[in-house]
Point group: D2
Chain length 343, copies 4
């Protein structure tokens, strides 16, 4: 049995980790910390976990966490980089679901996150936890940076095209739409149902923190810097991300459907839909899965890729469990054979 | 392995059965029938099942169904009563998720469903599949009438009070609210999102088909006829039923919280929340669970019970699997340890 | 032209007042105050008002407000009772959309609102602003307590029955459901879309502040104290209240449809729907209207009344404008001939 | 008084026309036709119109319609082209809210709409009813083709850039999202709330009927053929379109904010938001208004335009009333000074 701790268990990624881990046959949840709710039973705040999670939130305590095999950080940005070094030193594996270890360049991190990085020396070691790209490295990693939700959906959609060198990497467009749970469980007026319901808007057009993360991943796949216009939007629903990706073909691409199917043929959690499909976010709700379709409208020179995930699962907690499975030598799919809840 | 068939697999209760059964360790799905979609792969219509359900819809064929151990009818009212007799004769167990075998009185059935019953002789034998009431009989049954969604939520809420003889059974009020999936997957204008979204209404106040079913169950618990005002409402959401139940105390009730907790102490799928709770439908979304709270506002003589289920799970497919487990000698909870998907 | 001020213009009742008043032919908006947003243009926070409202929020200033003919308080409870006395002394009419002047009994007010009342001497003078009950008094009032949203929907539904003496006033049940805008524009976790969306729950079953207000109004209509069980619920939508009201007939009621139609025959904003109707909240969205239907299921002794309003219009800002029209000698319907926005 | 008729009054554009026209001071509604609902009162199907619209649906009758000054066709594609010629011959002005007269090329029309055009000779005469482009021609027109909802939002966003010759017209991208009311009031499974709610998908990526209409309008503005990738998506909400438009600058653009503000300076129904804004569909809900923002992320060579409308108002019925006002010599804004309903 793998003993795990969760730091920051009261947010949506925390509770989603608990939903997955409490039914994972190889895992025992040893500690769930929360500064704000320490002492309260987890299931008093999340009654969906009654009968499944029998612990109370505790204050974050390094001594307790150090006894775990692996610790998840489901905390705001800036927490994991302060606590992870000691845990790593004491032999604990770490997966950060926030952004602390996602960027390789400490200066860029500081620019986008507004403070100096607390342990820049770990940035090189940290493995970016997108198993479809870094599976071998994740198996050997002791520190994994779990990708952001938008970056997961966008990268999985562009990767086959970039890897095959078929598109103009200088002018990529990612028009992405997310359900409100992506904003977390923070009391903020714009996320009230009376504000976000029955309406739709873009946000962060001038620059969103996921932009450098996506660029970094795409550049690695392309073997060169890329130019990306990334526009996130807020959907009047709870779970789900839909990325609509536009790029221009630089030559004769051959059969794009076949390209995508071959690229992801062995991937358990990326599902290329039949030609002509339009993936729907509801079909991956609650599931650790990315469903993808590729289109070439009117046979022109623009490729359109449609990519959907559940932002809390393949975009956060599910991918973290997938990484844990790899890091701990478990079956990659353990605890993750989840059917999407539709309707 | 139990071999099962599903007749009428294209509706919401059908796809929900598939979601549960495809991950049930003791079950093999042998046939899924659909007149309208025969020949199409199930996962072409329900892409959430890709990789989990590998069959195509077939025409309903008694010869094939007769080879199953158990057949579920997820069909409109009036279908099961025409096909069940032959299957029963050939030794197949049957669970009807529609209403054909729910009422004991054939005349009452004919009055509410608008045609004579096709096999009234089976009404006495059919066991009403509410395990919290009829567990022993279900274990021995070959024909189970799976309860309606409203009747499940309403009966589970009233039963402890009626069984204890604490309330005036002549004037019960059940104000019930359901998500739109309760209406099924039929193309009807009032169920369009542009009609049912962002709005709320009652319907069927003059008389809803679930009324006689609920009355029958409550009368059995009370040991006498009951008077019930039942008002269903349509919620602008997909899954979930919330029943708010009002009744008047006839004497000094003692500790109602304790009464409810004791009544359901051994029930795996009924969860009495702590005193003062307000159950939320989202906490049972996707789960085979009824969460209940009991209140006595201002210490007066009116008891208010709040009862929530997922109409497609404990209100339909989940309860059907629970009944199958009992009928087939499996662990009652097999395949049903589902955590509610919240948020 | 009537010159008006709005104190507390950044909440939902404030912006709704602005929506109505900016198109009211007889009104000029002189000041809109907000402590939190003073100095900002109103339409920078509410872009739907661009081109219609050309002012900035100001600090609340009695000198400015004293120059208005009438001041609306769209503030939290406890504000109007501190500012209204001076404005009244200086000849300004006041309408409070909060609860400060709704209860006649200062002790009861203190009990439900958690502090002593600041000007109990005004409670007797204040007129409860339900025009369907108090039209004549409102015309002459200088201080009007605008009713709460639930109390408007519930009272308008029960009044014809109580006035006619047809029902048992000791055991009334009001099962009420509200959209999330009723909770106001406060940053609170339970009102996040990820919490309140796609779910349904009751709240405040032990006792909601609108309970004494409703009881007071119903008692006045009945000519005797009433017993009321009031259970509010939160709907996963933005605007609209639906009250489902249950009461027991004490004798032979005659034609209830006719009773309701006659009771409201001359009311411009109460619309009794044809027999057998089920009012939908969307049909009154944005409109200053209550739509009502009365049912007697199966001809039994329980009457069910269905009553819908837009909580921000007939339940708040629209009713306030209606009261302003009456207080200022304008046509009662001026600025209020609004068609519900459906779909 | 202008006497108008509405052919096809039971759909969403029909009822929205009624909502606007019943409060228009210069209009009298003479006939509202519906084959399916002839004989029924309009307000029995649309109770939001009770007290405002006092007529019944009638069978479409050319003799009655011919007595109107102007007839709106709120019918499915293919109806207006069969009835309009006779009405025009008899001196009646016609506005078609469907697509019959939107394309100038009869062959292209036949290709996209699947049948030959019934009166190709009228295509040249018909004026495309986008007042921001064709105001003078609309004033003199007897036949106006009211633009589609997507085409309105997309064209208003691209026009200033194309007119100024600033962008590469060969590679335009329009990522557009629409609420479900855009699909009309047809009973179809994909538009059920249980299907379209809490989910998001693209559709028609291979080719949507609005594509040639948009291309035609943009080409006219650009003075040359354009290349457009148009991807529509379905939003889980009722009203509103958000178009996110991507194009590449071909040179140094100067101040884009200023360009947009000057381009629309005199337009009553196009509102360019301050620099840095993110328009929200809710702010134009129910209003005849397009709100637009222009961005140049990171100062790069990609321009992003955000454009929102209410698909039933500026995208259909409101724009039709605007056209009627122009055609009939009324004030262009008559009956259209509507404030968006937010929240």
């Amino acid at each position: 049995m793998i003993e795990v701790g969760i730091v920051g268990g009261t947010g949506y990624t925390g509770v989603e980790l608990l939903r997955l881990l409490c039914r994972h046959a190889d895992v025992r949840i040893r500690a769930v910390t929360s500064r704000s709710d320490a002492g309260k039973r987890v299931d008093s705040i999340y009654p969906n976990l009654r009968g499944f999670v029998d612990v109370a939130f505790s204050e974050p305590d390094v001594e307790v966490l150090a006894q775990c095999d692996l610790v998840f950080f489901a905390t705001p940005n800036g927490t994991a980089m302060r606590m992870a070094p000691e845990l790593l030193d004491r032999g604990v594996k770490v997966i950060d679901l926030a952004a602390d270890f996602r960027l390789k360049d400490a200066a860029e991190w500081a620019q986008w996150y507004g403070e100096p990085h607390a342990c820049p020396e770990l940035l090189a070691e940290a493995v970016y936890g997108l198993p479809e790209v870094n599976r071998a490295a994740i198996r050997k990693a002791r520190l994994v940076a779990n990708p952001g939700c938008y970056p997961t959906a966008v990268q999985l959609g562009f990767l086959p095209l970039l890897a095959a060198g078929l598109i103009d990497g200088a002018h990529l467009v990612a028009d992405a739409k997310s359900g409100v749970s992506g904003a977390g469980r923070k009391a903020e007026v714009p996320m009230l149902m009376a504000e976000a319901g029955e309406s739709f808007k873009a946000y962060g057009v001038a620059g969103h923190r996921h932009l450098p993360e996506i660029r970094q991943g795409l550049a690695e796949a392309a073997g060169a810097a890329v130019g990306l216009t990334f526009v996130p939007h807020l959907l009047p629903m709870i779970r789900g991300i839909h990325a609509t990706l536009y790029s221009r073909l630089t030559g004769s691409p051959g059969d794009l459907q076949d390209l995508f199917e071959r690229h992801y043929a062995d991937e358990p959690f990326v599902d290329v839909l039949p030609a002509g499909s339009h993936p729907e976010t509801r079909n991956v709700r609650g599931a650790n899965r990315c469903q993808i379709a590729v289109h070439r409208p009117q046979g022109g020179d623009t490729v359109v890729v449609l990519s959907v995930i559940d932002n809390l699962v393949k975009g956060a907690a599910g991918q973290a469990v997938q990484n844990m499975n790899l890091m701990c030598g478990l079956e990659e799919t353990a605890g993750l054979m989840l059917v999407g809840l539709s309707p």
